[in-house]
Amino acid sequence: MTEDEPDIETDIDELQERIDAVREEIGKQIVGQREVIDQLLVCVLADGNALLESNPGLGKTSLVRALAAASDLSFSRVQNTPDLMPSDITGTEIIRESEAGREFVFEEGPIFANVVLADEINRATPKTQAAMLEAMQEKQVTAAGETYTLPDPFFVLATQNPIDQEGTYPLPEAQTDRFLLKIVVDYPENEAEREIVRRYTGDVRPDPVERVLTDEQIRAVQSLVRGVPIADDLRDRAIDLVRATRETDEIEYGASPRASMGLVRTAKARAFLAGRAHVSWEDVEAMARPVLRHRIRLDFRAEREGVTPDDAVGRLLEDG
């Protein structure tokens, strides 16, 4: 057993059943959106952070809350606004009086949680965004010369609204690159929307989400996901796909090698989620858009023609 593997004897089948149970528990709160739920779970299994983009009112916050509730993870929410300071997120030192006298103690900010929901992250100032993203990347924060390690596992699930751009600070490419996935939450289907209304407007409240996964089990699963084998040719094709984003005419700026790593990691996580012990090309294809869509910038001619990042990635997949 390697150092990364947890010191517990866990059965892989049982863990996969637990993950399925999490999916079912989230389904108690979120109607439809199966693909979004799966992508969110992939992000958790791959130990990454996700950027959720959707119009308001599509249940992003509920989704993240349900995920935290189904697992043994602490949850905090940060509503980003232009006046939000970095210390409001990371924490700050305060003077506390005790029997021994006054002393400076570090008051942990909301970022000290396993699951952090950063609502409307593009409304925070770049300075605050940078503080959060740095914590997200390093999994630690530094305040008054002291370094504090964030809880493990640690996920930042940030949301942003694509239509209301006034007074926002769009995340620069270097920042968005740190999100493993960009999950687009679309409007629900007709039947799903009827079910949402029925479920949340009646006298009977939806079933509460039960806790079915511990943080220890999540770490065990993350370790297993890293060990999912991938065939050499599949890995090469995934890398070639990312490299192709730097060469096609439709894309002005392509994805970084971090995207290559992210694509392989998420493909492994998706394979695990599907109950497989190996990565399939289907996994790579399914994860290509969420991994790449926020890491590429389209050429202005392609934008003028109405091409979206998903379209561009889709064409690369077809060509590959």
Binding site: L224, P229, D233, F272, A277, H278
Partner: protein
């Protein structure tokens, strides 16, 4: 924990052994294809050499060889078959054998390829061990028969049988095809001859009586003749002419001049009794020698 590691190592070893078995099956299939194709090509070469008139029947071997010559068709067949086998076997085993097996068994394609790469890199994570176990189970349900295109092999075997029969027929009937190297047009000849310009179709054994004709009696032969030969020296008198024979001893049994007789045929196609002809001939020669 140590048991877990040992178990995973064992799974990897079993997977490695299974991959070796898959490669072995691939080599077997390649050998089957190469063999049937080589036999077919060898037989075709044999047939071509046996029927083409321009090809010599035998080729001489160097003096050091234990035998003097080898039949060209057999030599050509062996050469072509060996080359064909080597070329096809090499071609078929050039592509990775595991990938050929994957192509024939798409159900295990990705898992098997991943397991192969994982074994090659020595991966023994728990997920890799799980993959090995699953692939080993899947491999039990697959078959290397899928590697073999039975229809193609069957067609080739049928072709081998047909060409074999043609070879046998050509050897027995002595069919020879002149492909332009011979002196005359392409013909079929008895005895495996080389395409002569005369038409000598074989008509079967002929009746000897038909050839010799019916035996007939001859009138001559009853008289005893005395012949004398001039015993003078070889030089002679110098006047021995063509008619000196009569004047030099032969007097005959009657007054009439004896005319020399020779055995002959009573008609262009028939001949006299063979014994009589033989006797006359001997007597004439005896007279001549005297």
């Amino acid at each position: 924990m140590a048991d877990d590691e040992a178990e995973r190592g064992e799974a990897r070893d079993r997977m490695a052994a299974a991959l070796q078995a898959v490669r072995r099956e691939g080599r077997k299939v390649a050998a089957i294809y190469a063999t049937v194709d080589a036999v077919l090509l060898g037989l075709l070469a044999d047939l071509a050499c046996a029927t083409v008139a321009a090809v010599p029947a035998r080729v001489a071997l160097p003096a050091a060889a234990p035998i003097d010559a080898l039949p060209v068709p057999i030599l050509a067949a062996a050469l072509v078959a060996t080359l064909a086998f080597a070329a096809e076997y090499g071609y078929r085993t050039r592509r990775p054998l595991v990938e050929q097996f994957e192509a024939a068994n798409p159900a295990v394609r990705e898992a098997l390829r991943t397991a192969r790469d994982a074994v090659d890199t020595g991966s023994d994570t728990r997920m890799a061990a799980r993959l090995y176990e699953r692939v080993l189970v899947d491999l039990r349900e697959t078959s290397s028969i899928a590697l073999l295109d039975a229809r193609r092999v069957a067609v080739t075997v049928v072709a081998v049988v047909v060409v074999s029969l043609l070879c046998v027929h050509a050897a027995l009937a002595g069919i020879a095809v002149d492909v332009g190297g011979g002196p005359g047009p392409a013909t079929a000849s008895s005895g495996g001859g080389g395409g002569g310009s005369t038409s000598d179709e074989y008509g079967g054994l002929q009746d000897g009586s038909g050839v010799l004709g019916d035996p007939t009696d001859v009138q001559a032969g009853n008289d005893a003749l005395n012949a004398s030969v001039d015993a003078s020296g070889g030089g002679g008198t110098g006047d021995d002419g063509p008619d000196s024979y009569d004047a030099s001893g032969y007097t005959g049994g009657s007054d009439a001049a004896i005319e020399s007789q020779q055995a002959g045929y009573d008609d262009p196609t028939g001949i006299e009794d063979a014994e009589l002809i033989r006797e006359y001939t001997l007597r004439i020669r005896s007279n001549q020698s005297q």
